[in-house]
Structures are given as C-alpha cells and as structure tokens.
Amino acid sequence: MIDHRTALARARGQGAAKEGLRHWWAQRVTALLLIPFVVWFVIGLVVHTGADHAAVTDWLSEPVTYGLMLVLLGAVFWHAALGLQVVIDDYVDTEWRRLVLTLLAKLACLGLFVAGYISLTIIAFAG
C-alpha cells in the first residue's frame, strides 16, 4: 500500500486530528460497559413504575444501587461527551466555533454528572 503521508506525519504517527486512538478506545470501552448497566437500570425503573417517593429513594439508597448508579452516570456522560465531540467535529467547520461547542458539550456532561452524583449522595445519606 502506498503511504501518502508526509515525512513529518509519518514520524509523528498521527492523523489530521493529532490524536484519536484514546478517544476511539474510550468510546468502545464505555459502550461495552453500558450494555449490562443499561439493562440493569431499565429493569430497575420498570419495577418501580408508579412507585412513590419512599419506595424509589429506598431503592436508590441501597449501597449496590448507589454504586451502580454512580458508575452508570459516569459511563453515560463520558460516552455522551465522546459522542457529542464526534458530531461537532463532523459538522462544525469553523475552528473557534468547534472549540467553543466542544467545551460547552463537555461542560454540560461534567455538570450533569456532578448534579446526579450530589443528588444520589443526598438520597443515600441525608434522605
């Protein structure tokens, strides 16, 4: 196969985005992790259909639920941040717009994870 890269690109061993393997790998690892977690979570939601506040917070306060929910939220918003970045990279051409949107997307994912973390902790320890 003919290598069309410049000598510098070959020496760096990277493509136009400068990095990417770590991003690609993290997206797959979080995807694999989310398969069992999503199934567990949906079952947990379904069996609490129509349940009142006490029943739902009892469930969320169980140590196993608390731990699994934290991992679920972490994986969800990590996976979301990676996915949003790909969409932004694909459709936003102007560099400063791409930069601002990517930062906003990552900030939103971080903020939502922290809000979920605090809520779950309040439910488990102060509820």
């Binding site: 797959r28 694999l32 999503v38 949906v42 129509g50 006490a54 917070t57 809000a115 979920g116 439910i123």
Partner: protein
C-alpha cells in the same frame, strides 16, 4: 508558475462534475440506520439530562418528586418516555452491531442488512416489552 495559477483558476471555476452527495442517493436501510444511530445518541443526551433532573427531584423531597412523576405520567411525558426508550434500545442494539464491525465481523452486504433489520426489530420489541411491563406494574392488566 504563471501557467499553474491559470490552471488553478480554471479548475476552480469550470463546471466540473462533482461526486454525488447525500441528496442524490436513494435512502437505503444502511444509511438510514447510520444517521438514526446519531440522532438517537443526541436524543439520549437530552434523556440523560432529564434523568438527572428526576434524580434532583427525588433528592429534593416527596413534593418535588411527586411533581416530576406527574409530568412523567402525563400523555406527553409518556410519549417522550416511549421515544427515549426506543432511542435507548435502538442505540444499544445498533451499538452492538457497531462493536461487531469494529472487530471486523459482519461487513458483507447481506449480513449488514440482516443485522440492521435485527437491530431495528429488537429495539422495537424491547420498547414494547418495557412499556407492557411498566403498565403491568401499574396494574393496567
């Protein structure tokens, strides 16, 4: 040097044939499912935000939680939950399809179509199953 700039100008202005783009192609199952994966991913970001809002309501107390449950149980709440459930199951099923592709498995055209239909039908069945189970827990039947 002079010749190459003249050539550049003519090449950029001449009415040269372009490669066909999205709007030229007839939509196919494979391309439709591909963009659906992206749309459902974006929709699920909103769904995840609503999930966090629901957790915040639960942390605030019984009154805020009852309010959240009333919104979720309304006709538009149920419609959105149905859409999010389908988005979640489709993104899950098609995501597994993508993981197989990452491993180099299932690239043949026949296989790609079969796995595409499978992802779509599995997502639909899981969505209907989840909602049936939810209504069963509500005592609807």
């Amino acid at each position: 040097m002079q010749r190459s700039t003249e050539l550049d100008r003519r090449m950029s202005t001449a009415n040269r044939p372009l490669s066909p783009h999205l709007q030229i192609y007839k939509p196919q199952l494979t391309s439709t499912l591909s963009i659906l994966h992206r749309f459902t991913g974006l929709g699920l970001m909103l769904g995840a935000a609503v999930l966090v809002a629901w957790l915040i309501a639960a942390a605030m107390g019984a009154r805020a939680f009852d309010c959240a449950q009333t919104v979720a149980g309304s006709w538009y709440g149920r419609t959105l939950l149905f859409a999010w459930a389908f988005a979640l199951f489709y993104h899950l099923a098609n995501g597994i399809r993508h993981l197989f592709w990452d491993a180099g498995i299932g690239f043949e055209l026949k296989t790609a179509y079969a796995s595409g239909w499978t992802a779509l039908i599995v997502a639909l069945l899981l969505t209907l199953g989840t909602f049936s189970a939810g209504y069963w827990y509500l005592g609807a039947f």
